[in-house]
């Protein structure tokens, strides 16, 4: 019997290989190094891997092909997302080190799992086949389930992990059912073939159910209402560094897949999904913002805020045009930086072991730690969407895309929502600058590297808000693959 092995170019999946190998090596080091290899080196090693993967991505830029018998796309869309993922992973690793040491959890496995999760994200963004996307979802999720439960002595962490795992598996079952339905209707898992089929023969019962259940599966991962309910509990209970990581990584990866599938496979039947997503987007934004108003735990507040942001990003998806897709890419990049920055400050202010997570623990921060308060303000302003930060422009791109596509009411609701959001974000600023500290809470948990990271992130938020040109060009260049 003869087997035709398809031609494979390993450089096409360079970042994937780097991250996987680095993860494996980390596990080996952790197992065999004993005391010889100090724990301090794990994160440095993983950061090096992330940087190498980043360089590989940059080197691959503008390559446009498919590989592994069309299983993955090698295109700028996936590269752009790779940059987002790697940036998110890198910053999360930096934020983790000190935090974990306080808990004596600075395991090599931790970093290995993060790198594997990044592998899953990359697969989701690059997947040209529903099998790959499904596997990507799982390779991303399972490490995060584990990492959410990392503090196994802590019931909150246990609870977060179990809730996430149960609901994640439950929603995966629906996602899988959807994939099966699409396969049943069309006989293929390849996005390109699915697109061709639907363009030619339109929708049938199977593809309807399949499309609907894909919305469920991706909607769960991006925390779209009514699939968002896990978000606050999991974000609150998980270790803060993991909350930071998943708030940006999972969301970006799920949006990558969401965007790719819906703009590649279903653009011709837009009329069939835009109303559903319209309703979902409105519900998502409203639930996120309105509930965030009542929160006093900052992690929980940021969880609701991340739900709301999913709603804003959905606006771009509903618009479904080039500007919308570009806006999503730009926004996700901005969101990654600003949200991680905000979580970085949260980790620092929480001091040792998540002691101070209430928003009133931020009182007086503006005077005790002016630098920290200043960068936090930048991140919060950006989350609000205040000019001239990146968050403002991102929202502006998304909303103008929707206006361009004629969804005026959606934009009105989205703008009202971002007005509501001002209240709870600005409340933190007010507390930082306009309330005296009630007691001395001890020094914040900062290291020079974290300091530098936060400052660079804050500057980046301002910089790509004021000079968005080149980032926007790159993003636009990356979504050229979606016709229209």
């Amino acid at each position: 019997m003869s087997i035709d092995i398809p031609t494979i170019c390993l450089t096409n999946i360079g970042p994937l290989i780097t991250l996987s190998v680095a993860g494996l090596l980390l596990l080996l080091f952790d197992a065999f190094s004993g005391k010889a290899m100090k724990k301090a080196h794990f994160h440095q090693f993983s950061l090096v891997a992330v940087v190498i993967a980043l360089l590989q991505t940059v080197w691959l830029w503008n390559r446009q092909t498919t590989d592994f018998s069309r299983m993955i796309y090698v295109d700028n869309f996936s590269f752009f997302f790779n940059v987002i993922f790697l940036l998110g992973t890198g910053i999360s690793i930096i934020l983790s080190v000190h935090y974990l040491e306080n808990y004596r959890k600075n395991y090599g496995e931790y970093y290995a799992l993060m790198l594997f999760a990044a592998v899953g994200m990359i697969l989701m963004a690059a997947g040209g086949n529903l099998v790959i996307i499904f596997l990507g979802v799982e390779i991303l999720s399972i490490p995060i389930y584990i990492l959410s439960g990392l503090f196994r002595e802590d019931l909150k962490s246990n609870e977060a992990a179990l809730k996430y795992l149960l609901l994640g598996a439950f929603s995966s079952a629906f996602l899988l059912f959807g994939i099966a339905m699409l396969y049943g209707g069309t006989g293929t898992f390849y996005l390109a073939d699915l697109a061709a089929f639907i363009k030619k023969s339109g929708m049938n019962g199977f593809t309807y159910v399949g499309m609907g259940l894909l919305i469920v599966g991706f909607g769960f991962k991006v925390s779209m209402a009514p699939f968002h309910m896990w978000t606050p509990d999991v974000y609150e209970g998980a270790p803060t560094s993991i909350t930071a990581f998943m708030s940006v990584g999972t969301k970006a990866a799920a949006f990558a897949a969401f965007l790719r599938v819906f703009l590649e496979v279903f653009p011709t039947v837009r009329m069939e999904w835009d109303l559903l997503l319209w309703v979902a987007a409105v519900a998502t934004m409203t639930v996120g913002n309105v509930t965030a108003l009542a929160q006093t735990n900052i992690k929980r507040m940021l969880a609701y805020s991340s739900i709301a942001h999913a709603g804003y990003i959905l606006v771009g998806l509903i618009a479904g045009n080039q500007l919308g897709a570009t806006g999503i890419l730009y926004y996700l990049l901005a969101y990654t930086i600003m949200n991680l920055g905000a979580f970085g400050v949260v980790i620092a202010v929480a001091r040792k072991k998540d002691n101070y997570l209430n928003i009133y623990d931020y009182a007086g921060l503006g005077f005790q730690y002016p630098g920290l308060a200043a960068v936090m303000s930048v991140f919060l302003f950006s989350l609000v969407g205040m000019p001239p930060t990146a968050g403002f422009l991102g929202k502006f791109y998304l909303f103008s895309a929707a206006v361009e596509a004629g969804y005026i009411w959606l934009v009105i609701i989205a703008v009202i929502n971002s007005l509501i959001s001002v209240y709870y974000y600005l409340r933190i600023t007010v507390i930082m600058y306009m309330q005296p500290a009630e007691a001395d809470l001890g020094p914040v948990a900062m290291t020079p590297v974290v300091n530098a990271t936060l400052i660079i992130s804050a500057l980046a938020v301002l910089l790509i808000g004021i000079f968005p040109g080149s980032i926007f060009q790159l993003a636009m260049n990356s979504v050229k693959i979606f016709g229209s």
Partner: protein, 633 residues
């Protein structure tokens, strides 16, 4: 210099960075040098640009200075570029000039404040944003400035955050302004949707292609006007401004009188090309402006806090500016904006000087007889008051008279009548302020020792007083060719379609001027009667001529009747408007919305029960809705 006009906001930006980042490390003197100095540099640069602009050939005007491409995409473009035209130059001069004076004044006023550097960094940041707002060549960049000034205003109102009322006021200003910003942002989106661009020049050029009164232009202009009502404190979004007086007084002068609150007027004038195509919006602008002017003036009648009187007066004067815009007299609006910036900044700084001298006392009932203790402050306040009352030849006379005149000729006789009544009330309450503060008996506590302020505060006052005196002469209305202001601004302003080219005789104009002066005179007279003459008269007369006591008593009785029939109802009405309409209806609406959202929040959060199976059920409901949507049809 015009090519480098972008330096104008850069100077205060540098000031902001130095004071904001190094504030704690550098000495107070350095802060005092950097804060006002950076704005002074801006002002000097603006003057240079102004001079250069006057000598540019007509073909080269207006100048657009490209800085960088801010947003570029196939369908959407916005530049970071500055527009230098007569309108923005006037605004630049006002903002940087008055801003500079107020910065200098602040050096004295805030001298002992622990957050000295923080104060100047906020103030500098405000100037940066305000300059961006007036120089922007497109709506989006304008919005950047618009949000920025709102933020700084918020920070500065709540500057003394230890006071609960101050941080509440800051919050209120922020919430109310959000509503306005919503309108503005929506307007921008609609402009992009309609015209495919947000650049002023391109939008205004295309506006002529629409029929007059087209629905979309009406909606756009109304949305923009909602933005303007928020920023410029018009009905129904004006309640934040009186509360904003919790901030330091120079801030009230700069932000809540001279510059930021006029941004709405500037925006409407800037969009005159859109407004003239939307008569309905024009009417709305005029009516809201008129109603605000009247209502705020009547509330001002009964206020006892010196800054609140000025605050309501500001709301009222802004109403006049919108009235002018609404009847198509955009130039008159900008003219009044400019003179108002002079005299209202003067009045606020003057009141700040009084408060400073009175060790923080703001209640006019606890003042009186300060005329001799604070002669300079008294003199300049009197100039400001005469200017705002519209007495010839002070600045307010020309601008207010022009508005009243235009309201009559281009608007409606009803507009004119109500506006004149408002002007009378303005004259009344302003002189009431003067009389209560500087005349009469001293009513202050014995441990208060009023004193004149240091020169660093009085010199800006004197400069502003001079400007309030002569500032009106740039727009002398009667003689052809003397109205320099009109001719200068003309290129920036669109005109209402022909039909109003009726030339009024000079006699008519002069007559109207006399009428408006007369109206102001009546207001002053009533104030004089009630606050100077009346309290002293009975006592004096009884002592000297006991036989005439009955007569005087009777006269007093007449006054009592007059009080009961005229004064009390007005006063009560004023209090009613203030306490009921102002605090209950409008605040109630704002707070009500907030509490509805809050309560909604408490309800929605209950959905998040913590039970994992509820969440699973949520997912299942989503699945059911989606499959039902696809298969149930």
């Amino acid at each position: 210099m015009i090519q480098y006009v972008w330096l104008v906001p850069v100077f205060p930006l540098i000031g902001f960075l130095i004071n904001g980042l190094l504030g704690k490390k550098i000495s107070k003197n350095t802060v005092s040098l950097v804060g006002p100095g950076s704005v002074g540099l801006s002002f000097a640069w603006v003057l240079g640009c102004f001079w250069e602009y006057l000598h540019l050939p007509a073909k080269a005007k207006p100048v657009e200075v490209f800085v960088f491409n801010w947003i570029t995409s196939g369908t959407f473009n916005a530049q970071a570029a500055f527009l230098v035209d007569p309108l923005s130059l006037v605004m630049l001069l006002v903002v940087s000039g008055v801003g500079f004076l107020i910065h200098i004044y602040s050096v004295g006023y805030m001298h002992d404040d622990p957050g000295y550097a923080r104060y100047f960094s906020y103030l500098n940041l405000f100037v940066v944003n305000m300059l961006i707002l007036v120089m922007a060549n497109n709506f989006l960049l304008m919005f950047v400035g618009w949000e920025g000034v709102g933020l700084c205003s918020y920070l500065l109102i709540g500057y003394w955050y230890e006071k609960q009322s101050a941080s509440d006021a800051g919050k209120k200003a922020f919430v109310v302004n959000r509503i306005g910003d919503f309108g503005f942002l929506l307007g921008i989106f609609l402009i992009f949707y309609t015209f495919g661009t947000v650049n002023f020049r391109e939008v205004f050029a295309q506006a002529h292609n629409f029929p007059v009164g087209s629905a979309i232009l009406t909606i756009i202009t109304l949305c923009l006007f909602v933005g303007a009502t928020g920023k410029s404190a018009q009905i129904p979004l004006y309640t934040w401004l009186p509360d904003a007086m919790e901030g330091p007084t120079p801030v009230s002068a700069l932000i809540h009188a001279a510059t930021m609150v006029t941004a709405g007027v500037y925006m409407v004038a800037r969009c005159s090309a859109l407004y003239v195509m939307a008569p309905i919006s024009m009417t709305v602008v005029a009516v809201i402006g008129l109603a605000t002017a009247f209502m705020a003036a009547s509330i001002g009648l009964a206020q006892n806090d010196i800054k609140r009187v000025l605050a309501y007066s500001t709301v009222s004067q802004l109403g006049y500016m919108f009235l002018a815009c609404g009847v198509g007299a955009f130039v008159a609006a900008i003219f009044h904006l400019m003179t108002h910036a002079f005299f209202k900044a003067l009045l606020f700084l003057g009141s700040g000087s009084v408060i400073h001298g009175m060790h923080g006392e703001q209640d006019m009932r606890k003042m009186g007889a300060l005329k001799n203790k604070m002669p300079i402050t008294y003199a300049v306040m009197l100039v400001g008051t005469l200017a705002i009352a519209g007495i010839f030849p002070f600045a307010g006379f020309f601008s207010k008279d022009e508005i009243l005149f235009k309201a009559l000729t281009d608007g409606h006789v009803g507009y004119w009548a109500i506006a004149s009544l408002g002007a009378m009330m303005t004259a009344f309450y302003m002189f009431r302020l003067i009389f209560m503060t500087f005349y009469g008996e001293k009513r202050w506590d014995h441990h208060v020792h009023p004193h004149e302020s240091p020169p660093v505060m009085t010199i800006p006052l004197i400069i502003l007083a001079i400007l309030s005196t002569v500032g009106g002469f740039v727009g002398i209305p009667l003689i052809q060719g003397w109205n320099v202001f009109h001719e200068f601004l003309a290129p920036s302003i669109a005109h209402v379609a022909a039909g109003h080219e009726v030339h009024h005789s000079m006699t008519f104009e002069v007559m109207m001027m006399l009428v408006s002066m007369g109206v102001a005179g009546i207001g002053i007279f009533i104030a004089y009667k009630m606050y100077i003459k009346q309290p002293e008269l009975p006592a004096q007369v009884t002592a000297k001529v006991p036989g005439l006591y009955d007569l005087i008593y009777n006269k007093y009785y007449v006054d009592e009747i007059y009080d009961a029939t005229v004064v009390e109802p007005i006063k009560n009405g004023s209090v009613f408007l203030w306490q009921e309409a102002d605090s209950k209806v409008i605040d109630g609406a704002v707070n009500g919305t907030a509490s509805v959202v809050d309560r909604l929040s408490l309800v929605i959060r209950k959905l998040e029960t913590g039970y994992v199976q509820n969440y699973a059920l949520g997912i299942l409901i989503g699945v059911a809705v989606i499959t039902g949507y696809y298969l149930g049809r």
